[in-house]
């Protein structure tokens, strides 16, 4: 993947969070889904069949933005505001009831 982001780079990113352990800067007022899209053009999750997905509707309808947030699985990224030191993990595979999707 060579596309860093499908969006223009923004000034004033002041919130520090992690995505799969990697430190990433986001903007105050961002949703988790917006922060993921701003950071990378890559998938934010893999489906049960292993297909890459990113947020699609940004308004809580499509559930394609599901990620793990601070250990809680299946969180709607577009409905969740970023916080300082938030730990986001990208789900890989079928939805599970517990967090830590690497074991899924």
């Amino acid at each position: 993947m060579k596309i860093d982001s499908r969006f223009q780079t923004r000034p004033n990113t002041t919130i520090c969070l992690t995505i799969d352990g990697e430190p990433v800067m986001a903007k105050s007022g961002d949703t988790v889904a917006a922060a993921l899209l701003a950071h990378s053009g890559n998938a934010s999750r893999l489906t049960g069949k292993g297909s890459p997905r990113t947020a699609f509707c940004m308004m809580g309808v499509c559930f394609d933005c599901l990620v793990e947030v601070d250990g809680h699985p299946n969180v709607q990224g577009c409905m969740t505001q970023v916080r300082e030191r938030m730990a986001i993990r990208k789900p890989k595979g079928f939805r599970t009831l517990s967090g830590d999707t690497e074991d899924a």
Binding site: M1, K2, I3, S5, R6, F7, Q8, R10, N12, K27, G29, D30, T31, A34, L37, A38, G41, N42, A43, S44, T47, G48, K49, S51, P52, R53, T54, A55, F56, C57, M58, M59, G60, V61, C62, F63, D64, L66, N74, M79, Q81, R95
Partner: protein, 464 residues
């Protein structure tokens, strides 16, 4: 005992206008919305953007029609209005009784009356490749502009509808012009829509706004393709999208980091369907809508619906509809006499009819293409459960004749979005095969909640 007079669900133009109207007449209102601020999708984050000096140019490129929504948000500062944000309603019962979740805790609220103002969602635009990273709905990119100052890089806008032009003009103003505008409407659709033109003249200012948007797109030199069809997107090794389509007898191919599609909006009806309100098919708008009278009253005692959730009319229509519904509810709760309801609502009735007069023209001119209603076999129809159009067709061949059988057979609509992204496509495939399907069933909880949250729910005894 009811907690309040009226619970309004949704703080978009209809819900906000209704809340202020009811509060000004002395009714106690509880306004619930899933988002962190009032505004709905159209005025999303408007209060923050208007008051923001860091990204001051956002209000500039989003435009005056957007910032005008701030007055509705400010009107919610009223001692009779309690607003709860991050509040997801997941069940409605007769009573009326509203069950909603906030911060992982669910609770029951009782009211004398409920107004559903749940708005619209974008119509799903399924085609081969629409699930790839780098393909989003155009409305999603506009939300990113409103909430995160996130501007698309060399995007291609594809589809049709007034929102597509508005977003293109906003992108141009923001210094992020689209690489191309690929439009699906045809000359045949234009001719078919022309009979609605005289009525649309009643909304002349809206027509002129549309023409001025087209002028801005033309002046910016954005490449335009029309009569486009046979959409297909594939992902290249570098993550970019190759978008191909037919236009005027030629196959075209565009490379872009971001493909943004749009085919209009449809009412969000999960809540109204799950509460047992009857729905009807609106042929011109190609969507189901709750059956209401001229005030938004449904057949279910104590439930009104207003705004795009009752049928697509746009923000101006929604504001008027919200006020009309509020006046009627106030009359039913004996806050107003029938005569004063009729007197006070005269202006809004006029505004409602005027704003709505342009819709038939827009609905006919920017109708979705058949290929998005019943897409090619390899297209994923149900994004959650990864079910293709071929599998839906196979299910029909095996005897399924309605959305419930298709769902039971191949899980289309059984994922976390609960059919919001595939109901209309499953229906389109059924219709193309000759069936006349009823609306898909929606059941509580209409948004996923955790079992622990359900177990901890306390139901007030007098509401049982």
């Amino acid at each position: 005992m009811p907690d309040v007079d009226i619970i309004i669900i949704g703080a978009g133009p209809a819900g906000m206008a209704a809340a202020a109207t009811a509060a000004n007449e002395g009714a106690k209102v509880l306004l619930l919305d899933e988002q962190p601020q009032a505004g709905g999708q159209i005025y999303r984050n408007v209060e923050n953007n208007v008051g923001n000096s860091v990204d001051a140019n956002a209000v500039d490129y989003l435009g005056k029609d957007y910032t005008a929504g701030n007055s509705l948000v400010q009107a919610l500062e009223h001692s009779n209005i309690t607003v709860k944000f991050g509040a997801t309603v997941w069940r409605l019962d007769e009573g009326p009784r509203v069950v909603w979740s906030q911060n992982g805790i669910s609770q029951v609220s009782l009211a004398k009356h409920v107004l559903l103002a749940t708005g619209a969602q974008e119509r799903p635009v399924p085609f081969p490749g629409w699930t790839l990273p780098g393909v989003m709905s155009a409305g999603a990119s506009q939300i990113l502009m409103k909430t995160s100052s996130l501007l698309p890089r060399d995007a291609v806008l594809a589809g049709s509808g007034p929102l597509l032009y508005l977003i293109a003009a906003q992108m141009i103003k923001a210094g992020a012009p689209p690489k191309a505008l690929v439009e699906t409407q045809t000359l045949k659709m234009l001719l078919g829509a022309s009979r609605y033109f005289p009525r649309a003249l009643l909304a002349a200012p809206t027509l002129f706004k549309g023409l001025s948007l087209l002028g801005k797109i033309k002046a910016a030199g954005v490449k335009r393709y029309t009569s486009a069809s046979s959409f297909r997107a594939i992902a290249e090794d570098d993550g970019s999208i190759t978008f191909s389509f037919d236009s005027k007898g030629r196959r075209n191919s565009l490379s872009t980091p971001l493909l943004l599609t749009h085919q209009g909006v449809v009412p969000s009806t999960h809540m109204s369907r799950a509460s047992g309100i009857s729905h009807e098919w609106n042929e011109l708008q190609g969507a189901f809508q709750p059956i209401t009278n001229e005030w938004g009253q449904t057949e279910l005692q104590g439930f009104h619906v207003a705004g795009d959730g009752a049928g697509i009319g746009g923000a101006e229509t929604a504001k008027a509809a919200g006020r009309l519904a509020a006046f009627d509810i106030l009359y039913q709760l004996s806050h107003l006499s029938q005569n004063s309801r009729d007197q006070k609502s005269k202006i809004d009735r006029k505004a409602f009819n005027r704003a709505l007069s342009i819709r038939p023209l827009l609905d006919a001119l920017y109708a979705p293409l058949p290929e998005f209603l019943s897409p090619p076999d390899e297209t994923i129809v149900c994004r959650c459960e990864e079910v293709t159009a071929a599998e839906v067709r196979q299910s029909l061949n095996l005897g399924a004749h309605g959305p419930r059988q298709v769902k039971t057979d191949i899980r289309a609509g059984m994922g976390p979005c609960q059919g919001r992204m595939c109901d209309l496509t499953v229906r389109g495939i059924l219709v193309a095969s000759g069936a006349k399907p009823s609306p898909a069933r929606a059941r509580s909880p209409i948004k996923p909640i955790k079992l622990g949250e359900l177990a901890n729910l306390k139901i007030p005894e007098d509401s049982l």
